[in-house]
């Protein structure tokens, strides 16, 4: 009797394997010939556009929204559609349905004439301009900011240099504060070997390939393993859809303004300016202890880009009394996008913001 059921199971397994092999061939062809994955589909308006800067206002998906508008700040190395990968896999859509009025800062590749943009441009001009625009459009006196990775660093610098400003809540997602905690990145840009001045003076704009290569070198097997996984899962439409969206996001890494790259390397990576307090932007010292608004920091347990040692000191450094750190399973990207983020991070973020957005 048990032999018969074993046989049946075995036959079932073989049938599955054959079916999947056939689907792999058919869908693999579709995969290879398909254009770029459709991303960033949640309806939005571009409400501010200046050089590399874009500010989106997403159209509401709830009948009643929280009083305080929400501004998301994307990292300067990547496109903001990671916040809005696909319907059902979109953090923006989740927040809109949870009743938030959502704005997002996105970056276009800086052009050669923007090579002199620096940290001051981003934190004393771009973010304040977006903040003004959000306040004007919402008619509210304050707002919440959510910054991801380097977007979190820019948000922190903005918050520390605009302490009398309209910021009500600040949420940072995998944001490095102790840059000496990013050991590999630091090693590769060791000032004994890496001449940042010569590099920036020659290239002007740091090429996207250079940035993407840096990320890839942190996990050199990831791309190959990812391709093998997608081949194996080719029969699984949801997996392939998600893979294509993430792949597109990775492929569309942005170049960086040379001056901004130089300053980030010198002031943050070499001098660890956010930890030592030596950083100043546009002549204004950046002292994180001056931040007193409620702060949330979401950290990924297996983050290889911004490891825990790099992000951990954020809460110790800020002067806020209402502050919280959440460490969630996942990596640097899966913290904010993908099936795990839907279950883990988004509900926590929405709940934290909701309590503070009335």
């Amino acid at each position: 009797m048990s032999e018969t059921s074993d046989d049946r199971r075995m036959a079932e397994q073989v049938r599955n394997m054959v079916q999947r092999a056939v689907q792999r061939s058919v869908k693999g062809l579709q995969f290879l010939t398909a254009g770029p994955a459709p991303v960033g589909l949640t309806p939005k308006d571009v409400v501010l556009s200046r050089g590399t800067l874009r500010l989106y206002h997403y159209r509401p998906l709830a009948d009643e929204v929280y009083r305080v508008p929400l501004l998301m700040v994307m990292a300067t190395t990547n496109k903001s559609f990671v916040f809005d990968l696909a319907p059902g896999q979109s953090m923006v859509e989740f927040l809109l349905k949870s009743g938030f009025d959502v704005y997002a800062i996105d970056w276009e590749p800086p052009t050669a004439d923007e090579r002199n943009l620096d940290l001051a441009t981003y934190t004393q001009d771009f973010i304040p301009s977006c903040v003004d625009c959000v306040l004007e459009r919402s008619g509210e006196p304050d707002l919440s900011i959510v910054g991801y990775c380097m977007g979190g660093v820019l948000s922190l610098i903005y918050a520390a240099t605009h302490t009398d400003g309209p910021l009500k809540n600040l949420a940072c997602l995998t944001t490095p504060v102790n840059w000496h905690g990013m050991e590999l990145t630091r090693k590769w840009s060791d000032e004994r070997y890496f001449d940042v001045d010569s590099f920036v003076d020659t290239v002007g704009i740091v090429p996207a390939d250079f940035i993407a290569q840096g990320f890839e070198m942190l996990r050199p097997a990831q791309k190959t393993a990812g391709r093998i996984r997608v081949w194996e899962q080719m029969w699984n439409d949801e997996f392939v859809k998600s893979y294509r969206a993430f792949e597109r996001w990775g492929n569309e890494t942005l170049p960086l303004a040379g001056e901004y790259f130089r300053q980030t390397t010198r002031e943050l990576l070499w001098r660890n300016g956010l930890m030592t307090g030596s950083l100043s932007v546009g002549g204004i010292p950046v002292d994180l202890s001056r931040i007193t608004v409620p702060v949330l920091h979401a950290i990924a347990e297996h983050d290889h880009i911004c490891p825990y040692e790099a992000s951990k000191p954020l809460l110790e450094r800020v002067g806020s009394t209402d502050k919280e750190e959440i460490v969630l399973k996942g990596g640097h990207v899966s913290l904010i996008a993908g099936p795990n983020a839907v279950k883990r991070m988004w509900p926590r973020l929405a709940a934290w913001l909701a309590e503070r957005s009335v």
Binding site: V65, R67, A112, E136, R137, G139, K187, T202, E232, A351
Partner: protein, 137 residues
């Protein structure tokens, strides 16, 4: 119990792949985390930059010979245009502000949207649990 732990070739393949990825990354990171690697990597990069710089210089000289603007000239032109554009933007905003006297309660920059009266679930729950307390003056 033994029956439940059946052989699954696909599952085994996934485990092997994950294990390979983890070990390869760890090994590569150990190798790439050395001073020697950083030194060699940056030397190669310096060489590439030097070649690029010489090539740029050569192209710029040739363009000058043909009396054609170089990339640097075009970038400078772009910078000037951007500066003019931002000044124009400021003037435009100023003129708009002067031309549209503030009318109480109307703001063309403010789109109509849903009411901003939403309450967090915790407050809605407590209000539902104790309606008498909520309605008390």
């Amino acid at each position: 119990m033994a029956e439940q732990r059946r052989f699954d070739a696909i599952e085994l393949f996934r485990e092997v792949l994950t294990q390979w990825e983890r070990e390869f990354d760890a090994l590569a990171n150990r190798f790439m985390g050395t001073d020697e690697f950083s030194n060699v990597m940056n030397q190669v990069q310096r060489l590439q930059l030097e070649l690029q710089r010489r090539f740029n210089q050569h192209v710029a000289e040739q363009l000058a010979n043909f009396n054609v603007p170089s990339r640097e000239d075009v970038i400078r032109l772009g910078e000037t245009l951007r500066d003019v554009e931002s000044r124009l933007g400021r003037i435009e905003r100023l003129l708009k502000d002067m031309a549209e006297p503030a009318v109480a309660g109307s703001n063309p920059a403010r789109p109509a949207g849903p009411p901003r009266t939403r309450q967090p679930p915790s407050r809605t729950r407590s209000a539902n649990q104790n309606p008498a307390k909520e309605s008390a003056p």
